[in-house]
Amino acid sequence: MRAGDQAAYAVLVARYRARLGRYAVHMLGDRDDAEEALQDAFVRAYRSISRCRDDARFGAWLFGILVNRCRTAGRRAARRQRMFVRDDVSLARAAAAEPPEAPDWDITVRRALDRLVPALREAFLLKHVEELEYDEMAQLTGAKVSALKMRVMRAREQLRALLSEVERV
């Protein structure tokens, strides 16, 4: 498929929406930001489709664009301090007002993921959720395989610690 074929592109958008959306939601932690990043990725891919040198690898190429869009969106969100804000004061008040109880598992997962710095979160999601090989991750992120292995290892260590903290509550 080449530029201009909008009907064919609409099929591709529908096909990749869920898979790419999952990554964007988990990476950005905010559904609106994720949808915006996903839209941007699809539009940029369409406008630049002549740069996709191997049609058979369109999905991987598109994923690479999304990874970059998420990085940009994450930086923007961090600047406006709407994301990854840990409102420790409110949390402490809430804990004092109500007896402690085990938090919802989805919230636990989200909080644990948010506590990772973006580079670790990105590597962890690409490896363990998107199930990419390290060389694929290196192509998408521009990072070296050794660096990515280190990031995944650190992400796992930090997540183990965070999850065990929660389970002790």
């Binding site: 929406r17 959306g21 949808e35 839209q39 690479g64 796992r156």
Partner: protein, 178 residues
């Protein structure tokens, strides 16, 4: 202890792998943006305007034939008072792109100004087909571009700064104005 921690981590991974529903209306929004006339249409308008015959003083370009492997030459329009009213009141500068590609059958200029569409800006062969040139109007700002040789080979401009991009293909940056 470690096995217990891994259990929690594996549960987390399983949860994260579950499908995430995205709003299907997102497709409509994407396709609306795709169909909207973008910068390419605006550039075409500007280009049409620029190609109309008129007396324009353009600074001489010395040493064009001695260009290196590739080069971007920027002409400065002396004024923009002759812009038609329909154009935005921004500075438009003709920028000449030059690349040496002996033996090429076709060379196109692609960039963010033409949505990287290789069909929109073909370059013209000069000097026995060694030198390929094209001149396009660009608004002030940074523009990313590359040359596409024979419809397949991407070539960054070795005389210009390289541009980081999302696509894994080489590209360069030209700054117009400012």
């Amino acid at each position: 202890m470690f096995e217990h921690d891994d259990d929690a981590l594996n549960r987390m991974i399983d949860r994260l792998r579950e499908p995430v529903e995205m709003d299907p209306r997102l497709d409509t929004r994407v396709m609306a943006r795709v169909a909207a006339p973008g910068f390419g249409a605006r550039a075409a308008l500007v280009w049409e305007w620029l190609r109309r015959p008129r007396a324009v003083a353009i600074s001489p370009i010395a040493g064009l034939g001695l260009a290196a492997a590739a080069a971007v030459l920027i002409w400065v329009l002396p004024t923009h008072t002759s812009q038609p009213p329909s154009l935005p009141a921004t500075d438009i500068t003709p920028v000449q792109f030059v690349v040496v590609a002996p033996g090429a059958e076709s060379v196109s200029l692609v960039g963010d100004f033409n949505d990287w569409d290789a069909r929109l800006t073909p370059m013209r062969a000069e000097r026995d087909g060694r030198l390929w040139t094209v001149t396009i109007p660009l608004p002030a700002g940074r523009h990313r571009y590359a040359f596409l040789v024979n419809g397949a080979r991407w070539l960054a401009d070795p005389s210009a700064p390289r541009a980081p991009d999302d696509f894994g293909t080489p590209s360069s940056v030209v700054t117009v104005g400012g």
